[in-house]
């Protein structure tokens, strides 16, 4: 079926099997490889993107859910007002080792902080906990998330 949606601000029309995962449509049809395959079952979060502002694990949702909606992939992060700050915070904290899990984490945080710019710590941890990291970069990632919250707070005061 034909699926029309917006990807990082641009209109996209795809011929895709609507039941197959959104991840493959993004990576192979749209050539946005920032969302990564990790498990295919929504456990690790490496594939996370935003659909109408909501974090979705794109390996585990059908491409059809994008129809008529606005999708933000990691490639759209730096143009997203909150995403750009999240990116800046991760770079400042050097919050990566191999980096495979990081794009998905930044997507989830961008989705969270767009709606709740100053979330309770328990909420923040709950969102981070939808992601897995194997290199053991967790402490830096959590610091980067808190730095992003601080940057958002500074921006709001300006």
């Amino acid at each position: 079926m034909t699926i029309d949606f917006e990807l990082n601000g641009e209109s996209v029309r795809l011929e895709a099997d609507p039941k197959l995962p959104l991840l493959y449509a993004l990576r192979n049809d749209c050539h946005d490889t920032g969302a990564r395959f990790g498990c295919g079952t929504g456990h690790c979060g490496a594939c996370t993107v935003m659909v109408d502002g909501m974090a979705e694990q794109s390996c585990n949702v059908p491409a059809a859910i994008a129809a008529g909606k606005s999708v933000c992939s990691p490639e759209g992060l730096d143009a997203h007002p909150v995403g750009a700050l999240v990116l800046q915070a991760f770079q400042a904290e050097r919050a990566a080792q191999c980096g495979y899990c990081i794009n998905g984490l930044m997507m989830s945080l961008t989705a969270l902080l767009t709606v709740h710019p100053a979330p309770a710590d328990a909420v923040l941890i709950e969102v981070l906990n939808r992601h897995l990291c194997r290199c053991g970069t967790h402490l830096r990632i959590a610091r980067a998330a808190r730095r992003a919250i601080a940057l958002l707070g500074q921006k709001a005061q300006q």
Binding site: Q97, Y100, L132, L139
Partner: protein, 738 residues
């Protein structure tokens, strides 16, 4: 004649052109056999070579791990890359600068002392004339210059003073570049990964080549699985399956639509019956390992001598302890992936995230009966790698398919395959039997280690190690089980205690049979031996009626070892916390120490635990001595990662089996540490003067295991000895302390 002080890796690759080539657009191609596996080595090596040459990182094109272009520097493993690979590139760069400076001086008809260099351009300080490497290289056969008999013995040229606007690509003043640079570690990967124009093709998973087909391999849940029944018709009719490859027990689905092929991989499992596992380990690691045939040898103390027997007889008190860890999965977040494509000349190009491209090429050539020269293996960055994971196996899968079908193929392993089929960290059992004399000092110590191999990499010993190769051709020779030899050791890594022990014997029961392929996982046997030795030191201290820290210090002479222990004790407030937490009341503090490989970095770790309805680790302290710290943030990042990963192994991880094979093949059945289980982490780096730089990524695993066991013992009043320390296992221990 080979000059003294020439790096070992230069000797087999003695020409400047093996390492450095001046290429178009004024750029410098740097070649290394050491590859990026998430540890930040690409950045660090680039900075080393640039500094030696007198160029900036934006002028460098680093080519790493390409069998057609790069020197074979062996595996990228064991924290050797800066030491060996860095030394070679630094040497090549220094020799190049020295020889080209001589050419420049001749060109200007001045003494080389009047030259300075910036961005690959030599400047004459007398009159401002300048000339580049590239211009000087015209008509000069520099690639064939021998660099194995030249020791750079002059001071490098001064960096030309540039205006304030001339800074390096990272915004630092390029004249202030230090030897290895700052912020290597993951920062290089991060910056590249996050840049909007660099997101594509950052990982091997993201590579695309023209005409590429997607493939998925069908496998059982253990490495010896044979396809007993295959419903070819049903598999071939699955949507998206354009070709079904069936070669012996090697089954693969190939098609142009990856989403359909991935779906078909799941559906096709209903149409294959796999053979049952040859061996199924029980949940009791201790009983399982003791049931296996062993090759026993004495590795220290040469067996019980008259002296050790006499020492043992003289003991006032004796103690025996057994400790174990189960099989542990690598668990890379990105499952292994590879691409292979036929070349016009009839060869194959293979892209891989293997740690050893040359060894992989040679083993693929033997398995496919092709010449090594017909294969070009090129490294591409994969997901974080902590040892020998599925990278080599998936590269063979892709090579076999491209070889058979004569089309470019990309193979992506599933999560299930990554967790069930990758080589695993070996299970280990350690028994220690020791005596205390009347004064409470250790008078004899006998340590026995039961473990399988910690090295089944391609090229290790005989045979073919690639998973798909022996499925496709069972006549290929089986790998011969052998372990990493001492002094670094596999199962024996850190099995010889670093303490001062008067009558020491160590024996190795090497287990030659295994239910899975066991191979290198971060710190190898250092993890289980750290658990055993550091647990047992606490048990002996208790028996002697001494404080665990004081007991360790009483048996340590090395000042650097004592310093990390004293430092971590001061940071955590050891004595106060020991007193504050009553034994068995749910809170505890424990300590652990090791010198990695008994010859590398020192680490002492203190861990605080709270046990209620779950086990939590509120605080961890580390004091480390990795010699001269060149890249502080990189060292901290590696230690943090080592601590968190080891906590995950110790608290949660164990590969489990059922009748079909490995049962822990997803993140629900093989959980790892989450963001809701993090401690605060306090790391102090001790930097003794004039100490050589040592690797940091693997030093913490053993001390973490020991400190955690000791803290839990403090909190529970009973000692856990067998990993993992899950709530369920601790509950069983409390209910049945025997």
């Amino acid at each position: 004649m080979i000059a003294q002080g020439i790096p070992a890796n230069i000797q087999p690759f003695p020409r400047l052109g093996d390492w450095i080539e001046f290429v178009e657009s004024g750029l410098f191609q740097l070649r290394t056999g050491k590859v990026e596996i998430g540890q930040g080595i690409a950045n660090a090596l680039t900075r080393i070579a640039c500094d030696a040459l007198g160029i900036d990182p934006d002028q460098a094109l680093m080519v790493a791990g390409d069998t057609s272009l790069c020197p074979d520097e062996g595996y990228t493993s064991g924290s050797q890359s800066i030491e060996m690979g860095g030394a070679a590139l630094r040497h090549a760069g220094q020799v190049a600068q020295q020889r080209f400076a001589a050419l420049a001086a001749k060109h200007f008809a001045v003494d080389p002392s009047h030259l300075s260099i910036a961005r690959g351009v030599f400047h004459c300080d007398l009159d401002g004339r300048s000339i580049s490497y590239h211009a000087l290289a015209q008509g000069v056969d520099y690639p064939n210059w021998r660099i194995d008999c030249v020791e750079p013995n002059h001071s490098p040229l001064a960096k030309t003073r540039l205006g304030p606007a001339e800074t390096g690509p990272t915004g630092e003043d390029s004249s202030a570049l230090v030897v290895v640079g700052t912020a290597a570690g993951g920062a290089g990967v991060l910056a590249a990964d996050l840049g909007p124009s660099r997101v594509i093709a950052q990982f091997i998973h993201d590579m695309k080549i023209d005409g590429m087909q997607h493939a998925r391999v069908l496998r059982g849940l253990h490495p010896h699985a044979k396809a007993l029944q295959v419903d070819r018709g049903a598999i071939e009719s699955l949507p998206g399956v354009q070709t079904f490859v069936w070669l012996g027990d090697f089954l693969a689905l190939v098609g142009s639509n990856e989403a359909l092929i991935a779906q078909a991989q799941v559906l096709a499992q209903a149409y294959v019956v796999w053979s049952a596992p040859l061996m199924i380990p029980g949940a009791d690691t201790e009983a399982w390992l003791l049931s296996l045939p062993a090759q026993t040898q004495w590795v220290a103390g040469l067996g019980p001598s008259d002296a050790t027997i006499a020492a043992a007889r003289g003991a006032a008190q004796r103690l025996v302890g057994r400790y174990s860890r189960p099989y542990i999965a690598h668990g890379a977040i990105g499952p292994s992936c590879a691409l292979a494509a036929p070349t016009e000349a009839g060869g194959l190009t293979i892209w891989t995230h293997s740690q050893g491209v040359f060894q992989l090429r040679d083993e693929i050539s033997r398995a496919l009966q092709r010449t090594p020269a017909s294969l070009r293996v090129i490294h591409q960055v994969g997901s974080g790698c902590y040892g020998h994971n599925g990278a080599d196996d998936v590269a063979f899968d892709a090579a076999l398919l491209a070889h058979t079908l004569n089309v470019p193929v990309r193979v992506q392993w599933s999560r299930q395959q990554e967790l069930a089929q990758s080589p695993m960290g070996a299970a280990s059992l350690i028994e220690i039997d020791a005596g205390l004399d009347a004064s409470g000092r250790i008078c004899d110590w006998r340590q026995s280690v039961w473990s399988q191999s910690h090295n089944n990499r391609p090229g290790s010993g005989g045979g073919i190690h690639l998973l798909g190769a022996r499925a496709f051709d069972p006549s290929l020779p089986e790998p011969v089980a052998k372990d990493v030899p001492l002094p670094t050791g596999g199962g024996l890594r850190n099995a010889i205690p670093y303490y001062e022990l008067p009558a020491l014997t160590v024996e190795h029961h090497f287990l030659t049979e295994a239910p899975v392929r066991t191979s290198a996982l971060r710190s190898l046997g250092g993890h289980a031996n750290g658990l055993a030795i550091e647990s047992f030191m606490d048990e002996l201290a208790h028996l002697a009626g001494q404080d665990p820290l004081a007991f360790r210090l009483a048996h340590l002479r090395d000042a650097r070892a004592r310093a990390v222990l004293e430092s971590v004790a001061a940071r955590c407030g050891w004595s106060a916390l020991r007193e504050q937490y009553a034994v068995g009341e749910g809170q505890g503090i424990g300590i652990g120490f090791a010198r990695y490989k008994n010859r590398a970095g020192f680490a002492a770790v203190a861990i605080e635990v709270q046990v209620a309805h779950q086990v939590s680790v509120p605080r961890v302290w580390v004091a480390a001595d990795v010699g001269l710290v060149i890249d502080r943030d990189g060292v901290l990042n590696q230690i943090e990662g080592g601590v968190i990963q080891a906590l995950s192994w110790c608290l949660k991880e164990a590969v489990g089996w059922d009748a079909d094979g490995v049962q822990t093949a997803d993140w629900e059945t093989y959980p790892i540490l989450g963001f809701d289980e993090l401690p605060t982490l306090d790391i102090v780096l001790l930097e003794p003067e004039e100490a050589l730089s040592l690797g940091a990524g693997e030093i913490a695993a053993g001390p973490v295991a020991g400190a955690l066991a000791n803290a839990l013992t403090h909190a529970l009043g009973v000692r856990p000895r067998h990993l993992p320390f899950t709530v369920q296992r601790l509950r069983e221990l409390i209910e049945n302390p025997a």
